[in-house]
Symmetry: C2
Amino acid sequence: MELLKQKIREEGKVLPGDIIKVDGFLNHRVDTALMDAMADEFAKYFDPSKVTVILTAEASGIALAAICARKYGLPMIYAKKAKSDNIEGGLYQSEIFSYTYKKKVTLLVAQDWLKSTDKVLIIDDFMANGFAVRGLIDIVQKAGAELVGVGIAVEKGFQKGGDSIREQGIPVKSLAIIEGTENGKIRFRED
Amino acid sequence: MELLKQKIREEGKVLPGDIIKVDGFLNHRVDTALMDAMADEFAKYFDPSKVTVILTAEASGIALAAICARKYGLPMIYAKKAKSDNIEGGLYQSEIFSYTYKKKVTLLVAQDWLKSTDKVLIIDDFMANGFAVRGLIDIVQKAGAELVGVGIAVEKGFQKGGDSIREQGIPVKSLAIIEGTENGKIRFRED
């Protein structure tokens, strides 16, 4: 998606350790018009009429997933991390390693809200090693629901999380795939 | 807002300790059409053309804030909780007590994204003691920005967080104010 790549080129920052900082428009301050355009772009690859629910993980996936779900006229579920006292009863769980928190966290979805009849589109803002997305896929499978595909805003292609999920035959569409950085400049994978 | 009150009556659950569970449409599974209607409702009380940015706190405020911001054509900022390695540099901070986590957490907003020229509408899904909202107000004041008001989906009126903020002269609009529960039934404050 050229508009997103342009935004990453103009406003993204490369930090030590290949951290790509896009918190000015994606995951701290949120450019909601850009996210609306991303929702249109995902709809070219995944037919929203064949989806019943959008699934993401808290916290940074929620804004994009909410705007996509609103645009498609669908509900959205966000998996919670670790256990909050306000969630009781049956839960689908998947333990993942979180680079943000530098420890294992458990993704939780209440069984009340994700059903075996659901057709799920996973949406997330960022994918590197793909641990969060794999956790979400695990939850979809535990629920016995159908996985329609995975839509990601920004993928770090050189960390192989996305490619390993594609190799399982799961449709993954990332709107911008970063292949590497050189002297603070970002190189994208060709579409 | 009658539509929201009706939804709370029909689907909300009262748990021990006066916990009102609305995770089927507000803060786990999200009814995005209802949130879109809430955005229209907030716009009756706060003029979006006089707002430059929507501010909320992660994680449960993000979906509603994103949908409101998208509807008004505005950017959205969500305050992060505790310190993530991906945020460096200057931060506005406010320490709050979180009932979800049963401990103190620090709300963080990067100084790059909230400016003294901003006119801020705070949006959150839930207010009880109002600690999170007070933390957000604190951050707006530290940034030297203008606070337009506070829009809340569900307020627990009997916990007085909202009223204490109103007493400071800050415009607060909650779309449903719960005054109490009796035998599992929810009683609302009259508009």
